[in-house]
Amino acid sequence: MNRRDALTLDFPKQQRQDFSNTARTNTGLTPYSGQWTLSEVQHLLRRAMFGSSKTDADYFLAQGMTASISELLTAPGSVPSPPLWTYASNYADPNVAQGQTWVTAPYDGQANGYRNKSYKAWWVGQMLDQSHSILEKMTLFWSNHFSTESYAVNDARYSYSTNALCRQYALGNFKTLTKLITLDSGMLKYLNGYLNTNTAPDENYGRELQELFTVGKDANGVPFYSQSDVIAAAHVLTGYRINSATIASYFDSTRHDTANKTFSSFYGNTVITGQSGANGANELDDLLTMIFSTNEVALFICRKLYRFFVYYEIDAATETNVIQPLATIFRNNNYDILPVLSALLSSEHFFDPLNRGCIIKAPVDILIAMCRDYNVVFPNSSNIIAQYTMWFKMAQYLAIISQNVGDPPNVAGWAAYYQEPGYHELWINSDSLPKRNQFTDAMIYTGITGSGNTIIVDVVAYTAALTTPDDPDLLIQEVIDRHYSEDVSNTVKSYLKNILLSGQASNSYWTNAWNDYLGSPTNMTYYNIVLTRLQAMYKYIMDLSEYQLS
């Protein structure tokens, strides 16, 4: 035992609970028909969107479950306008004027660093400004699934186009998306697909297409595909190139391997007939048809969706009652994504109390969600420099706590979304947890400043919008209900009340302070009395471990 172990074990080991046998549920995909209260609404919104603001929660509470899920599963009518160039004071991009988009402009080595910033800022902006739709959550899911790194791609136009593709097909057809990703210039560059030729086959994409994107690696250590399948797939995929001017990919038949490709027994010993000329590009369809005819694709994707939306542990009951029926739905719908999401999010399994509050929030589920929950006001599009500055600030804070959007650690995406056995727990460590608290503390007390702009939580305005802000008991209960998945002990509530009452016994002290403020909202003394107490209360609530759970 090393020294650190000794220190760690110094903590109450005798009381450490054994969670190897936690309560399990046998519920499946039967549609949920129970109560529709704030608790259910928040559970759904926190997982399908970023956070659960009071406005959104109240809106969906009134809608009822069926209409809520239907609306969440609808993509917004319009495609977001692309990211803008706002860095003229740093560098004069000869191809892009200030305030114009750079996504179709020629590559410029010096501009590219700023374009990457712009891309990341813009993506954060999409998440912050999301509509009542699961689209942004699913865009994150697919961007993580078909992971590329802007640092490695080294051309922001490609990174943007990959992201735009994931957003366009986020609620569409997975097989189509897989084909388009295979042909995507960003992915061709990232996994060397554009260097994969008949004379120098490159196996990189051929492997990840199977291992990470479709069938998965193995079941209980027994591999699905073999190395020969990687080689065969690589040969199918020879010949794709990128037009660096248009950044479109194209098929160059002279680089394509026209020989037949033979696959292993996992794929039923399929032979894809080599084709020459322009027809060589058709082999991709044959490859995808073969891959998507296995049972594993649907199972693999449904498990990943389950871990993203429900919980990372999949026990035998869940495999039988949830994963396999979902996979059947996926296959029966020819890999349309929406029927799967609909079945999962409407199920009694999803709303089962045992499946609530057990996801450790990803950084975006802390930072983006906090800003949305508190209606934090960002600079608007009338000042794009300020807007992109503050959006990028958020991207930087996300990176500090290990979710650098646009630059996941590798092609597998963020480990917390896939790495056994810890999964979501990997988001939390003794470095990231204090930093999460520092961010929420800063947003409560000082705000975050960049280039003269400040974003800050207005705890007084937030409180004023709640149901009974003048009653400390009801206020605390509502704040707990809106911040946590589960209720907390009376010890915590009395602690929170102690903050509001400054240690006094009677509720009237808070009530009077609040009413004094309401009666004279411009009186700074009254304002400061409620402000300092509310700041301390919200800080405390967000510093508690419970706030890290969704």
């Binding site: 220190l7 109450p12 450490r16 609970q17 057990c358 470095d431 302070a513």
Partner: protein, 528 residues
């Protein structure tokens, strides 16, 4: 390697950011001041603040026996029988509530200083606002965003919290025990105190108590995060280590759970003796808001207030005994404060309403024992709005403690206290100002008076200066400063000034003289 162990190993390799009240951490650079302090014994001085939440009734705590007959007309239903008032060595005029035997013994053995009539001009009667004033050391009408202890710690450790903990200061600068999040520790740039992120967490660290989590996936993940939280609190190890260094404490403490203040102070003693270099601790005792039933119907010496004072006295006595037992008595000074005193006149419901001036009690082997100030003057016919007048500004007490206990040079006090406050002789070892014996020598001397008194529109005020700065103020019965007559240097000798009552209503007024450390308060009465 098990996953949990792997994470622990990662933690060891990482420079842990401090999980403090603050959020942005400034880089530490050793200041000359810090080096100077580090090499002096002064650096190990500790201050323990005891907040009495609710507003303590000072007149039933430190009882002015020379005002007894006026007190008995003003608050007969809660008055402590004079025969039961605990006597203090060296004075027959002032005594303590009969519940305070522990503090009486400490006083009589030279370890307690009582500052009389502590308040501030225009006192506020709202718990919240008054508490904020005491914690921030602001003027009555001023809102300050930082606390006085936070400003001191920022002055002393100017780069905190970046780079902390470090070899020079491995421990939290300030620790709060109990349930208050104190504004007092808010520094100008960052929180200077350690905030415990779980109400039972502090006790967890020391006593190994863990709230149960449900046996669900939620409970499993919650427990995981809590474990990381404990591991990542930068100071959890030093606190645990300090606590574990002490295995035996004085047996004088009451049983755990019977006196929350004693429980808190016991932890403080353990941490101080265990080697924690933390400068300031905050503990608290609530329930002093005694509007009614302050005393029992069966007798004024028992009831709510008697129980509170008993807990206070018992806790401080046990704590002092423990500090001696643990050989750290020379390092610790304690100080009580409350957001206000209570009204002179009692309520029919045997309680008292929010008031103004009240005593502060300092204790420790190093305090300069005795009474500072005189007994408050109780009017013969008190009205409902009459309050104990201010003799000393509470910020004078803070400034004196900073100067005499934390050895902040007088010129630097302004940057912490934001104004110049009179220094009082509170601490023995570093008496940089007039000794308490001088106050005692002058105690019988008439330093200020007015004639005629009572008066209708004008009167002559006579005062004696020993030289140096003189402040002459008039307060109304509520303690509101209505006039500063003199604020400047006056040569030694007797001075006479004409005072005009500028339309203030008939009633009781207080005339206050401050001359360096000396001060005196007299009644002025305006009649029609």
């Amino acid at each position: 390697m098990k996953r949990r162990k792997f994470i622990s190993a990662l933690s060891a390799a990482t420079v842990l950011p401090a999980l403090l009240d603050g959020f942005s951490f400034k880089a530490f650079a050793a200041s000359p001041l810090l080096r100077a302090l580090a090499s002096s014994a002064v650096n190990d001085h500790v201050l323990v603040l005891i907040q009495l939440n609710g507003g303590n009734d000072g007149l039933n705590t430190v009882i002015p026996l020379d005002q007894y007959s006026n007190l008995s007309s003003a608050r007969n239903n809660i008055l402590i029988p004079s025969a039961q008032v605990l006597s203090l060595n060296g004075t027959a005029l002032t005594g303590l509530h009969p519940s305070m035997t522990g503090i009486q013994q400490l006083y009589n053995s030279g370890k307690v200083n009582i500052v009389q009539g502590v308040s501030y001009p225009s006192p506020n009667f709202s718990h919240f606002r008054a508490t904020d004033i005491w914690l921030t050391a602001s003027d009555s009408a001023q809102v300050l965003p930082s606390g006085w202890a936070g400003r001191y710690l920022d002055y002393e450790y100017p780069n905190f919290p970046t780079g902390y903990p470090n070899a020079t200061m491995p421990d939290p600068l300030a620790l709060e025990i109990g349930s208050m999040i104190s504004l007092a520790f808010q520094g100008p740039m960052a929180g200077m105190g350690m905030t415990i992120t779980d109400p039972t967490n502090f006790y967890n660290l020391i006593n190994g108590i863990q709230d149960p989590a449900p046996n669900t996936n939620y409970g499993k993940e919650l427990t995981y995060i809590r474990q990381v939280s404990q591991q990542s609190q930068a100071y959890s190890t030093v606190i645990t280590t300090a606590a574990n260094n002490i295995t035996q404490q004085s047996p004088s403490y009451p049983s755990p759970g019977t006196n929350s203040l004693a429980d808190q102070l016991k932890i403080v003693a353990r941490l101080v003796a265990g080697g924690l270099q933390t400068k300031i601790y905050m503990v608290n005792l609530g329930g002093f808001d005694t509007h009614s039933a302050q005393v029992d119907a069966s007798g004024t010496t028992s009831g709510k207030h008697a129980n509170l004072l008993s807990q206070l006295s018992e806790a401080i006595a046990a704590f002092m005994d423990d500090l001696t037992f643990l050989n750290v008595a020379n390092r610790v000074v304690g100080m009580t404060f409350s957001e206000f005193g209570r009204r002179i006149i009692s309520n029919a419901s045997t309680g008292t309403d929010h008031g103004a001036g009240a005593p502060m009690i300092l204790f420790g082997d190093q305090v300069q024992s005795g009474l500072v100030g005189t007994n408050p003057v109780i009017p013969s016919v008190a009205t409902v709005s009459d309050n104990v007048a201010m003799q000393y500004d509470f910020r004078s007490v803070y400034a004196s403690v900073l100067n005499e206990w934390f050895c902040v040079p007088q010129p630097d006090l302004n940057q912490i206290m934001l104004q110049n406050f009179q220094l009082l002789p509170l601490i023995q070892s570093n008496a940089c100002v007039t000794g308490i014996h001088e106050l005692n020598q002058k105690a019988g001397e008439n330093l200020v008076w007015n004639d005629p008194n009572p008066f209708t529109s004008s009167t002559y005020i006579t005062f004696k200066s020993k030289g140096g700065h003189v402040l002459l103020q008039v307060f109304n019965a509520e303690g509101r400063l209505i006039k500063t007559i003199v604020d400047g240097e006056y040569a030694a000798g007797t001075h006479k000034i004409w005072y005009e009552n500028e339309g203030h209503p008939a009633g009781l007024y207080y005339l206050r003289l401050q001359n360096e450390a000396l001060q005196q308060v007299k009644n002025m009465i305006v009649v029609r």
